[in-house]
Point group: C2
Chain length 180, copies 2
Amino acid sequence: MARKESVTIQDILENAFEMTREEGFANVTARKVAARVGCSTQPIFRVYKNMDELWGEVYKKAVLFFQDYYDLFPRTGTVPFSNLGMAYIAFAREEKNLFRLLFLSELPEKKSLYEILNGEKGNVLFEINKASAMGCANPQGMFMRMWLFIHGAACMSLTGDYDLTDAETKKLLEQEYANG
Amino acid sequence: MARKESVTIQDILENAFEMTREEGFANVTARKVAARVGCSTQPIFRVYKNMDELWGEVYKKAVLFFQDYYDLFPRTGTVPFSNLGMAYIAFAREEKNLFRLLFLSELPEKKSLYEILNGEKGNVLFEINKASAMGCANPQGMFMRMWLFIHGAACMSLTGDYDLTDAETKKLLEQEYANG
DNA sequence: GCATTACCGTAACACTTGTTATTCTAATCT
DNA sequence: AGATTAGAATAACAAGTGTTACGGTAATGC
């Protein structure tokens, strides 16, 4: 009957996502994605209604990527929120462009920080419960305080104003928790 | 002899700066600035070699604007770094676009966070000395810890994930200092 | 082997960007 | 008043954007 497709939706989305990682979200244009895939712009618009739709999918993929990143991140933290915090700060350091997209951009479809962090598995609630079980009187307040700290460290690494190693992060977060 | 200029360098720079405040740095284009000034793009290129030069001047003006903002900010803080922190967080809340430009962008001419904060007057050193005089054993470490916290609160207000009033900011910073 | 038809490349449209060439305008000197 | 000349408006260029029209290509059913 008809011709077989030579460019798949995965080809397009994956390349667009990798471009976001490497060059930033703003560089994901129709022509540049096509060039990376090695095709014309046509297959993109066969698969996606328009670029907004592709960008939305890249964003969704970034959310999942972060959540996987956290799932696989070594659990070496000893206090509540430190595993989440260490992963978040490492993510900002290692995946600057994705971090900007997820946690500093102004997209209409953007999820809240809490939504992304908590995810399907309730990562934040898990840590809050852990704090509670460990005798923390105000675990929500502790989360808020810890997270301001964590977000600050993450955002500062973006601009190179202050880059923490994992070991330094760990120590700081443990001190910060103890101080609360 | 010749015609008198009807568009001054101030007209251009001031409008470009206000556009940055209101619409963000990325919207400062030659045509949009000209439209706001009420002229063609020609006077811009008479006064500035190219747009990079104008953008550079807008950036410099933003640095000075922040430093003035801090100078005029009410000094209600009771602990070291709290005045600086309150001003910084309020600035992020009130001047989101300028904050992004100054503290989250990736311009080649970008100054470091410390350079901007410390400024001509040595604001940071002043606060560090204050902490030292108040008996803080490790004032540099305290600054670092406080500033991660402050930067976190500021960056979080950008995305609307957590917006602190001045009063809340004040209380948090005082607690945070006491905990150190 | 041939018709069908979805796929994809080419080319174009309409728009935006920085920048520049050209032409017109107006202020000043003579 | 008229010549001079810098300033500014118009228009264009080249590059980039999203998007679409068109036409060639190739895989499948017959």
